[in-house]
Amino acid sequence: MLGTILLLALRSIRRHLLRSFLTILGIVIGVGAVVAMTTLGQATTSAVQQQIAALGTNVLQVRPGQGFGRGGGGPRPPDFDPSDVTAIAQQIAGVTAVAPQAQATATAIYEGANWSTTINGTTSAYFTVQPWTLSEGRIFTPREESAGKAVCIIGSTVKTNLFRGGSAVGQRFRIGNVSCDIIGVLSTKGQAGFGGDQDDVVIMPIKAVQRRFTGNTDVRLMLVGVDQAYSTAQVQASISDLLRERRHTAGRDDDFNIFDTKQISDTLTGTTTLLTRIVAAVAGISLVVGGIGIMNIMLVSVTERTREIGIRLAIGAVANEVLLQFLVEAIVLSCIGGLIGLLLAQLVIAVATPLMQVPWTFDPQINMVAFLISALIGVVFGYFPARRAASLNPIDALRHE
């Protein structure tokens, strides 16, 4: 019997194509909006998480100054001393490694090609506190590190621009005034949300950078790896205490700051998740409005088709069959609307992800739930009109003009 009812409903929808399309428009937009917004929101959240994971989890970034950047006026707080690095590494429990960083910018030249890039002077600890890996070659040996030898690990952007397709490891190129051996190439990390291209970098032993580029022994930034067993907050507090003592900042505001990447990650993830929910809720309202649209048209349709209902009853349809026909019509309409909405959402997502620089994702769960909700809307908003149709008196219905 259900097959018959479905056939009747489909025939009825076919008879009123334009009206059926207008009926489902609300559902199309509602489902499309909910799915697109939720998916894009999730993609943003996971993009943020990925970017932060690239900084390493359980990593504390220690910088001079307050907050990001250098703050307002006043003299610039001094960078860290190499002895600060050893002090943190040796005196604070829970620290696995400390990677100091000194930075400079210079132009790299190889044969005819040249490329302006950032030089990052650090130690091999850099590769233990952060999840950075090499696609080829090796990291510095302790000897190269302590001697400040001019050896380089280059990012993939630098490699592409200097070496085109050719191999880089084993080559010698010039950076600034320094002739440098390439010992490794970093795996590609991609675009970062904040801080530009993470692959546009040349990594050298910190002593080499200090001696040949910055001309001092200052450490601009320290990356502190924290043992999983320790709380980052605790370690962060210990480092603060130690640095206050070493930098003699008692009685003044701290002239350094420590960022917990996990904390940033949690905050940003929380924010994007919240935003996703808010946007999805707004889109959800349009879904309800779409449902009311269906009910509206179905009620009009019942009135308009009173005579038709009379005919059906006269030729022997029982009340339940009429009820089911109208209910199935509403459900079929809202399901078709839901499907079109899903397609629309995929289109929006396909267009928006490259613009938003977030990865394309397809979450079957979101799509499934949105589709089921559209079917449910058909049931809920189709029931009332369907009951009205089924309760009509055949004689009155046949006389209806």
Binding site: R312, I315, G316, V318
Partner: protein, 241 residues
Amino acid sequence: MRVADEPLIQLRGIRKVYGEGPTAFQALKGVDLDIRRGDFVAVMGPSGSGKSTTMNILGCLDVPSAGTFLFRGHHIETLNRDQRALLRRRYLGFVFQGFNLLARTSALENVELPLLYRGDEKKARRDAAMAALDKVGLAEWWDHTPGELSGGQQQRVAIARAIVTSPDVLLADEPTGNLDSERSVEIMQLLTGLNRDSGITVLMVTHEPDMAAFAHTIVHFKDGLVDRIEQSQGLARGEPA
């Protein structure tokens, strides 16, 4: 024990009251009527005489306020709404003055509608509907919608829809009311032919004595009662005009 000529339909003391209290209106005041299987009955009478109410009760669309209604020996007056719907589906066919076809729906789909509710298979449905359309002479027009058919043709499609389930009784409410006299005669010839060849019992309400003349039995209603019953040879027995 069934007697061979027991009436197909037997109405006894049928009353129908609309409304309640002082404004109550007695549409039927005790109608007694027997209808034989295979008869062609015309129901006549002025407006308000109770003929439409009687037809509604005979068509199982309405229930009497009092009295008994036997159809094939079974009591109908006690059936509920859905039971009556199933009865209509199985034994009755309806033809209306206004044709009452589904708009924007092909003749074939209109005709197979009752079979859909009966749950017939697609093939059986198509074949039966085409056979019915063939009986009314519209087999070639099966894919036309009502809007593309003339009034006479639409009424033929409606008749095809009414007979597609091979019902015992065909109820026609002013079937020629919207047609010119030439089309009317054609429709009446079609109905008499079905009555004669398929043995289908026809109950027809009409205002027009010319149309009633096709029937074998003419029942005259007056003031909620059967006034008189005329038996005639009917034009059906003679040569088509």
